[in-house]
Structure formats: C-alpha cells, structure tokens
Assembly symmetry: C2
Homo-oligomer: 532 residues x 2
Amino acid sequence: MGDARLKHYGWGREGEAMSAEEQAFVLGRYRQKFGRDDFDTIAVPPLAALKLRAPRITPPDSLTAICRSEPYDRAAHTFGKSYPDYLRAMLGDYDCAPDVVAYPRSEAEITAVMDWAGGVGASLTPFGGGSSVCGGVEPRVDGARYKATVTLDMRNLGKVVEVDLTSRAALIEGGTYGPALESQLKPHGVTLRHFPQSFEYSTLGGWIATRSGGHFASLYTHIDDFVQSLRVVTPRGVLETRRLPGSGAGPSPDRLFIGSEGTLGVISRAWMRLQARPKFRAGASIRYRSFFEAAHAVRAIAQAGLYPSNCRILDPQEAYNTGAADGSVAIMVLGFESGDHPTDAWMARALECCADHGGLKEEALADDAHLQGAAGIWRNAFIRMPYAREFLNPAGIINDTFETAITWDRFETFHDKVKGATERAIVDATGIKGEVTCRFTHVYPDGPAPYFSFHALGRHGALLAQWQAIKDAASDALIEAGGTITHHHAVGRDHRPWYDRQRPELFATALRAAKKELDPLSILNPGVLFDP
Amino acid sequence: MGDARLKHYGWGREGEAMSAEEQAFVLGRYRQKFGRDDFDTIAVPPLAALKLRAPRITPPDSLTAICRSEPYDRAAHTFGKSYPDYLRAMLGDYDCAPDVVAYPRSEAEITAVMDWAGGVGASLTPFGGGSSVCGGVEPRVDGARYKATVTLDMRNLGKVVEVDLTSRAALIEGGTYGPALESQLKPHGVTLRHFPQSFEYSTLGGWIATRSGGHFASLYTHIDDFVQSLRVVTPRGVLETRRLPGSGAGPSPDRLFIGSEGTLGVISRAWMRLQARPKFRAGASIRYRSFFEAAHAVRAIAQAGLYPSNCRILDPQEAYNTGAADGSVAIMVLGFESGDHPTDAWMARALECCADHGGLKEEALADDAHLQGAAGIWRNAFIRMPYAREFLNPAGIINDTFETAITWDRFETFHDKVKGATERAIVDATGIKGEVTCRFTHVYPDGPAPYFSFHALGRHGALLAQWQAIKDAASDALIEAGGTITHHHAVGRDHRPWYDRQRPELFATALRAAKKELDPLSILNPGVLFDP
C-alpha cells in the first residue's frame, strides 16, 4: 500500500482523482445526455466537519494497540462504495460510523477482538478494502440488540506466506490488497490474475467472501474456482479445510464460506490456485449492428469450448459513453491468452463464430489489442470509472450499475424487460429521461452475465428516494424475469429484499442454523445475507 | 431399462456376466499373480435360500401401490457394490435388508413416503442405481433409535422433462439411469457426457448426491459443475434453486446438496448443463518409462490450459493387468474432443508436453484411437471390470480400489507412502504378497486424482477382517499424507472414520445444524456423512 491514506469519501487514496481532462470528458457526456450546460452542485463535508457520536465502547488494554476510534478511522469505515453510501457521506450522515476500528495483526488478535466484541454486546464487521457496492461493510445494526459496533480491518494481514510453484498455488493472507498480492507473486513468475474493477482497493478475503468476479470472462469467472483451501476464524474457533486439487468428500466446506460475506467467520488465509504469467496473447475488437447480434456471437463462442479470457460486449450506448465507438454499433472485446502456447487456433475459430453472426473485426490492431483501439479505450475507462462518482453525485447525477445472470433462452426478453422497467422508473422518479445501457462482464455456455449501467438527473433533497425507486424497479424486474440479484457484486444489506425472494427459504433456514453454531451471539455482520 | 431385473448379488441385470473368455483372462492374471493353479471357491446363496427377517412395518393403504416387501426387492436393496457388500451377500448376511422398498412416481409420493417413515420411526434411504462402493445405500441403522428401515428407489422418476437447446440444458428427473438419460437426449443432438464407471447402473440423482466423477479427465471432472439448478424433497418441504448460468448471491445453495449423499433430502429433478455431441476427436496412447515420468507430462498438460477430455495414466502393472501393455511401461491415454472445431492444435501442443517428459507416442493409431490400441483395450476393461467381482470374491480374491487427490508438490511421496502401506498391510493381513497399482482418473492444474487398485489372496472365513485391515492401512496412509478419503466415490458409511479426520469439525457442526432443520427426525440415511 502506498503512503497516502484511503479517502473517507471517494475512491482510492487521498490526493487521487480523475484528471481535469477525464472529468471534462465524463461531465461532457452528461451535459449532452441531459441537455444541460451545468449542474447544481453541492459541497461534500470535509472530515473535520463530520459530527460522530462519542464511541459507545472502549477496547480493553490488551487491544488498545490495534484499535482506533479516531474520527478518520471511524469515518473511513462507515460506508462502502454504493450510490447510497456516497450520498449519505455527501450529506454528512455518519450515524452508522463504527465505534471502534480494530486492525489485527494475527489470527489470535482476530479471535481476541471477536471475543471482546461478543462480550460487550457489539457487532463485528469484517472489512477488506471497503469497496462493497451493496452495503456489505456498513455496521448498520439494530441499536437495541447491539450496544455498539466494531469494524475489523484486515489490512495488517497482507502477506503471501508461501508459494508452491510445483502445484502452482500460494498461501495468502486474507487482508492482502490486489496490488500487494500481485507484486509478491510476480518474482515467482506466477499470478492470481484476478482483477475485479475494485482490484486496487479490495482484498483476497473480501473477494472470497463476496464471490468476486475477475479477469477471466469465461470458465474461471468467479474467485470460487481458485480457492484450494481456507482458514476461517469464527467465534467458535478456527477452521481449516484441506489443501486439495479436487474432492468429493461430502458437500464442499469451502463453498459454505465462499459467499458468506462475513456472516460466518473471517477468512484469515487461503491457498489459492495461480496462473502462469501470460506469454501469448491475441486480442480483437469486433463491431456488430446490434447488441443482440453480438450476444449471438458470444453464445456461439461460449458454447464452442474455446474459453476466451475476454469476451465482453458493450451495447451501442455503453460503447459510446466510454468513448469506444460512435453509438451506432455494439462492440465485442475478445481476447485469448496463455502462459504456454500461441492462441492463434483459438482466436481463429472464435473470429469465425463472430463472422457467422455479423461481426466485423476492427482492423489495424496488433496482438496487443488489449491496450489499443476500442478494447483499450474501454479497458481504461473501466479502471478509471470508480473515480467519477465523487464529483458526479454532488452534481445531482445518479449513476449506478447492477449486474445479474440469466440463461440464453430467456436473455433477450429479460434484457428488454429489465432495461424498460429501469428506464420507466427513471422518468417516474426524476421526471427526466435517463439512460440505461448494458454490457456482458462474464459469459457461460448456458447464459451471459449482463451488467447494466443507469444514468439519471436527480434533485438534491430527493436523491436517495429517487435512486431507491429506480433500484427497486430494476431489481423487481430482474428477479421477476428469472435473473439473480447479483452475479458478482454480492448481496450485502442492499440486495436483501430480492435475495430473500430468490433464495429457497429452506436453504435460508439451513444457513441460519449453520450460522447459529459458528456465531452463537450473531455478532458477525448482522443484516447481511439474513437477519440475525 | 431392459426387461431383466437387477441382480440381488453382482453387477447389472440377471443373466449378464463376463464371457467365459473374459473370465479366463481375468482369472489367468490372478493365477499368475498369486502362483496358484486354482482357487478355493464357495457358492453364493441364491435368492430363494436367503433368510430375511419379517418386515417390521407395513405401509398404509395409500402407499401399498408403490411399496414392496418381497424378498427380491428387499435383497436387491440391502447392499451397494463395495467389497464388504459383496462379501456379506456371498455369506448370506442380509441383516440390514430394508423392511420396505418404496418406488415413488412423483414428488408428492416421495413426500408421502417420507411422512410415513418419519411417523413410524423408520429411517429412509434414498436409492438410485445402488452402485455405491462405500456403504452409501445400505440401511444400516441403530435398531434402538430406528424401529424399521425404508428404502426409496427413484427408478420411476426417470424422464428428461424438458430440453433447452438455446442454453444447452435439460431438466431431468433424479431417478434417470445413465443410458435412459442419454437416449432421451440423443434425438436433440446433445449429451450430458457424464460417464462414471457405474454409468449403466447409476442415476442422475445419485451422481449429484455423491459428487460423481465422469467422462472429462480435466476441467469438468465432477458432476458438480454441470448442475444448473436443483429440486430437493426434504422432510420439511420441497426446495428449488434458481436456474442460473452463474451467481454470486450468497453461498451456493446447490453446493450444499451436491455431495449431501441423501442426508439432507432427495434430489427429485435437476436442470443440467449439456454438451454438443462431439464431432471432432483426437486420441493417442503414449508410453513412458515410469509412472512418475508420465505424471510429469500430465502436470505439464494440466497446467498448459489445454483441457483434454482424457488424460489418464496407468502405472506399468495396471497397464499390464488390463492388457494394455506388457508391464514394462506406463501408459497415457490422451484425448481431445469437440462438438465445434478440430482439436489438432490442442493435441499437437499436448504431445509436445508428452515428448518433453520422455513420452513415446504409439504409432498406427487413427483419430478414433479412443476405441483402439492400448487406450481402447483399457477403456473396454474399465467398462467390463465391475462384472469381475461376483466370481472373484467367491474364489477368495480380495480386489478393491480406492481413490483420492493430492497436490503436485506432495504427489510422489504420497504415492509411495500409500502404495507401500497398502502392500505391507496385504502381507500382514493375508501372509501372501499382493499387488497395488495406480492410475490417474482426473487431473487438475494443482494436482492429480490417483486411483489405486489392490489385489490380495484372502482366506475364507477371514476375508472381511483381512479386507478391513488393508482398507484401514491404506486410508490411514492417505489421510496422514494429506489426501482426501475420496475424490469421487463418496463417503457413505465406510469412509466415515477418515472423513471425520479430514473434515473440519466446525464444518461438521454447521452441517449437522443444517440437517436438523431440513430433517428434524434424522430419518434420512443415518450414519452417512455424520451421526444422526
């Protein structure tokens, strides 16, 4: 981690932001979209202006060395990075600030913090990089049941402990941030190659706890398949699964904790399956007359068993917004890579699939197309986009995303229903036409993972209600049309109403019973996934 | 299913057996192995000679149409196909015969049988094809706690209900046998392509409940990844997961039931991901001087990201036993297949990996090598082998297999320890040198799934104790050396002592709590996975 500390409001570290040119580009798109010359912009309160309640608990002497209750620590751990998180921070609403932030340096200290929190009737929120976009790290609890809130920041458990090149695996601590993880692996010639959009400001433990989606657009889409074994600290003790390449011994113990979002325990370390660093790459951008035409090509490629590392499509408006095309065509970003062999045969067959469905390959792209052309422009926008919210939201612009997955047979109807419902909700909530765009982030032989972005011009004073109305309509539509409330953003608190409809009730019953055994006082992340 | 009924002792249907030539080949190998001209052979009691206790319960009128307590039904549902199962059947020990066998024709009838069993204090054992080799289908219960035993045979739920060619998936009932499943899919041009050795006499529900290992030697090794959604009948009600190509919404509900071995519910139907029928195939047999040399090549191929459909290796003795080689070389059976594109580039690169590690390709093999040469001989032996036990065991020959998985860094030490411990146990238990061979059934980038066979000449009257001593030594060794007690045969009752050591205790606690919610009376398959 660098020297500057993480912002309490915004993305990344203090001092980091989009350049003036980037901001002008992004704001320009919105001026055009909403037909406005300028936006009514409010000021975000600085840290010094925040009013936080006095901490309700004080750590015991044995924990003071790793606990902080300074305004910065508490403010920087109040929210994740969802739209309502930004909004409430912008309004100075820090009611949910944790009373204490603990920074354990060992499993023993995690246990000590757990024991203390349980003993004083506090909740405990595991915290990786804090990049949750669904209310997964906010200590929002029932003040009657919980007397206080403690957040457990894992940043001090950030080491790659052991690398096994023979099996191509590494033992890595749960609090390891993306860049630190890769820089520790690099000297060994291997990579985890898991790059969620939050990569710089998220951790291995967070990725596993939320079933994060990464670099690979097909095959190994979620972090799940890269987990070889886990160590999990629970209030009842430490649990370690066996390091195995595969097993059929009962239900997978790892899979119970993968996606448990901090409700069953804290992932202290994991053996992770690695990749050879890629030596061979083939990349292409392909244009299509329509998004559905591009989707047909994606389906053909996904069902061909070619396993592209990249196979993402952007609808015309999404491609335009990121500067990758002029708004008249859909774009496919296609890539193959290997640490072992040239991927020409793979790319050649995939391009045949593209041509079969009307795809037109952009010319003048070398093998490093992943850094050039429409693909490169989109990739850069993808990485920089998280920095936009901190100046867009104060301008009253509601911009958010939601993502899902659906089988191919229902995809087109599903897309139209969800997009239509979201567009209508924007007009209903704001009175102004907005925009809803779609891309695919990951693809499977049996269906895509569509990712929607929406843009609306809200009104200060009503922003939260306006956003919620749009979110509700979009979520209702995607659950009714058969999708999942999340493909890789996780459930947190914000997706609960729809997760509760999607999840079989008897599974919830089973999961609650499991939690009761591992976390008898229900201190871990209450309200996430299920009610305590 | 054909007309003849399933044997109550042995593999397959009444009237089916190895031909005289096959029997002579197999017995010849054993004569040579043990230096005997002949074996002391006992007679297996026919069905009519079996003494079964009178059924302890009688189904209510509403269930008589689907319940049987005839000697055949009870005898044919007493055992799976493990070595001790064969042995006890051979000795006429049918103490564990179920009192009643129910053949439900609908989910409502499954529920009705569950309700009745719970009401009369009986256990309920879900039964697919009965091919368990680890005590998974035997109603072996504590007679004090359970007043009687009911077995639920799923054979009447054997339909492919719906095929979705767009998403390449099908909704299939849990009691569908392998051949019936494929014959119903074939007219649609698709296949599940899941071929465990038990394929002919096992069911989709059984495969899912036991995390069965199938056709694909790499990538999609277990049935797990082909499950798109499940319907499960539990004593608390029916649970259905959402049909999704991928999801990140909490811990996977499917993964709780995949591998639950009938302890949490009965899988009544599942949406399964399918494959296009293969149009392009490339196959080769490759010889190596040693098993470890072959293993090095497997590792290279597995880590290259080529995903062969077949990449199995046989040690020299294993290759000799199946007639695939002369005992001086290890054999690799390598295959690629695709419903979409020629696989030449894939095979070419894999063969380079083989050559890098001393592999010598067998010549004169056409593209249909999967049916010819060493590969073809081995494949045929693989399919026919289950028929050997019914005449080997009465001859006092103890032949059994066990399988596991281990990471590459520990594989060679692991192999030698497990093989050595098993060889020593054979001598200790029988006084006669036996044989232990190894092959790989499935391979991963981070390790192989070694599959051991052992052969010992036992003594009538002591066979069960001799087998158990060998099994104990082998299992102790593989658990101590870091493996899993099963890669795809499941846990059942027989693997419990080692599963209990391998599985994190807190996970067992969580699982038991989940079971208590779904099966409050603990009627489902008691003793499997955990104690009720």
